[in-house]
Amino acid sequence: MHHSLLYIDPGSGSYLVQVLVAAALGVAFFFRNIKNAVIAFFTRNRNKQDDNTNS
């Protein structure tokens, strides 16, 4: 650790990190939600088909 850092609360840098992390997560979750929606759409269709076949 740099000597100068000993006088600084290392937690203070975590604010910037959270902004960066939140931006990365925003992108990741956006695409994940699309993926989940697509999967849900097709599984719903398949379930409907299954239901039709069963009935």
Binding site: Y15, V17, Q18, V19, A22, L25
Partner: protein, 460 residues
């Protein structure tokens, strides 16, 4: 009036209030400084919801100023915790559940317009069969523009040790004793295998966090805007990493002990009968500690007798198995902890008073110690005299098993070392323990050649 209160040595960091003891009762004072936040916490309904869900310790509100301190807004009387334990005494899944509890509280708080301002295992304790949050002053008014103030604390206190254990050894929970305020991110980043850099969420919360926060520390971070969505994403991401972590499934030294021991001509059953007989002669017993409990077979026996039992063992895997059993079967009177008889948790922190040593925290009527003595006396070379002296500090009543040198298991211990244990005899054991205890009863355990003793401490 103020002279008769004793402020808790661990309660000095937070200006919101503090814990103190008066006439043997623990209270928490809420300071005027924290009035608005505390009122919001109660009036928003968050307190009721968390207590109803058994996530937070319930308290009674006392409007009188008990401490006599002019900063007092009000005083609360939380339900009593039987035995304070620390994260370095918890098993993997206990720490994991404590982490998930913290994230759940952070998430619930936001729905009520509050934010969890602390994320440390010291705010979580074992109460009535589960881990529960105990710091009612950790909830402050939420400002949507602010990031999570406890983010780094969470990563260092929960995520770092869990990831290190997950990728390496369960015994590394002991790192938390070296860094009781959390394993620094740069240390965790160095200790974790390089492959963790390619795990998206771990990269963000540990590796990137360690790198960027050190560079950014102390620089003015103006106009950093956050939002509720971002806050929730952050919590969700942390939860995803933690849920995926598993206790490394290494077969530890003592796993499957009972499977093997039960096969020895009803040895375990015989032992249980003798103990149950002694317990039935002492129906008023309310508390016990089972030291060297393995997966807690005899702790469960004590629990069936409605005795609050601390179940302690050196093996983190056994204690983890016991914890999972307690959780699954909702057993509410056994508390599992990791404990090394030859090295009990020390007193640490400011003035060595912040976190008490094991010996001072333990307050029990009965100690049982089964098939442990030979490991200490022969495995660790601890003389009977020292063992008897330590037991006398913690055990008003003692049930202890003596296993002679001729025993098959002791022979295995002796194979690995030179036999310098000419003093390891039953006569000497009785003599040394009689210095501190009165032997009330002793019984041979079936045909095993082993003996159980029931002793009572000599009161001065």
């Amino acid at each position: 009036m103020s002279n008769s209160i004793e402020r808790n040595p661990a309660s000095y960091r937070d200006p919101s209030g503090f814990i103190f003891e008066k006439d043997g009762v623990l209270y928490r004072q809420v300071n005027n400084y924290f009035k608005e936040d505390f009122d919001l916490f109660i009036q928003s309904g968050l307190y009721d919801k968390l207590v109803n869900q058994q996530l937070l310790i319930p308290h009674q509100t006392i409007h009188d100023c008990i401490s006599g301190d002019e900063n007092a807004y009000l005083t609360i009387l939380p339900e009593k915790i039987n035995f304070i334990s620390y994260a370095w005494e918890w098993s993997f899944d206990m720490l994991k559940d404590a982490a998930l509890l913290t994230l759940r509280l952070a998430k619930e708080s936001i729905q009520f317009g509050l934010s969890l301002k602390d994320a440390t295992p010291h705010n979580i304790q074992w109460h009535k069969g589960k881990l529960i949050f105990i710091d009612s002053l950790s909830f402050e008014k939420y400002n949507e523009k602010n990031p999570w103030i406890a983010y780094r604390q969470f990563c260092e206190n929960f995520l770092s040790p869990l990831l290190i254990m997950h990728h390496s050894k369960l015994t590394l929970n002991q790192l938390q004793l070296a860094w009781p305020d959390g394993i620094p991110l740069e240390v965790a980043a160095k200790l974790l295998p390089a492959k963790t850099k390619y795990s998206f969420h771990t990269f963000l919360h540990i590796h990137l966090h360690a790198k960027v926060s050190n560079k950014a520390a102390g620089k003015r971070q103006k106009d950093l805007q956050f939002s509720r969505r971002k806050f929730l994403n952050l919590l969700q991401s942390l939860e995803m990493v933690i849920r995926r972590l598993k206790s490394p499934s290494t077969a530890t030294q003592w796993a499957d002990y009972y499977k093997e021991a039960t096969n020895r001509n009803g040895y375990i059953e015989e032992k249980k009968k003798i103990i149950q007989h002694w317990l039935s002669l002492n129906p008023s017993l309310k508390s016990a500690a089972d030291l060297g409990s393995n997966e807690g077979y005899f702790s469960l026996c004590l629990s069936e007798h409605k005795i609050e039992t601390l179940s302690a063992d050196i093996d983190p895997n056994c204690i983890n198995q016991l914890y999972l059993k307690i959780k699954q079967e909702k057993i509410n009177n056994i508390q599992p902890i990791i404990f090394d008889f030859s090295n009990p948790s020390p007193a640490i922190g400011v003035d060595n008073k912040e976190r008490e040593r094991f010996t001072d925290r333990l307050n029990t009527e009965l100690v049982i110690s089964l098939a442990l003595l030979h490991h200490l006396a022969i495995g660790k070379n601890i003389p009977f005299e020292k063992l008897a002296s330590y037991f006398s500090k913690i055990a008003p009543l003692l049930i202890i098993e003596f296993i002679s040198k001729e025993d098959e298991k002791v022979q295995i211990l002796l194979k690995q070392k030179r036999d310098i244990f000419s003093n390891y005899t039953q006569t000497l054991f009785e003599k040394e323990f009689s210095t501190f205890f009165k032997i009330i009863d002793k019984q041979e355990i079936g045909l095993s050649g082993r003996t159980l003793y029931f002793m009572k401490r000599n009161e001065e």
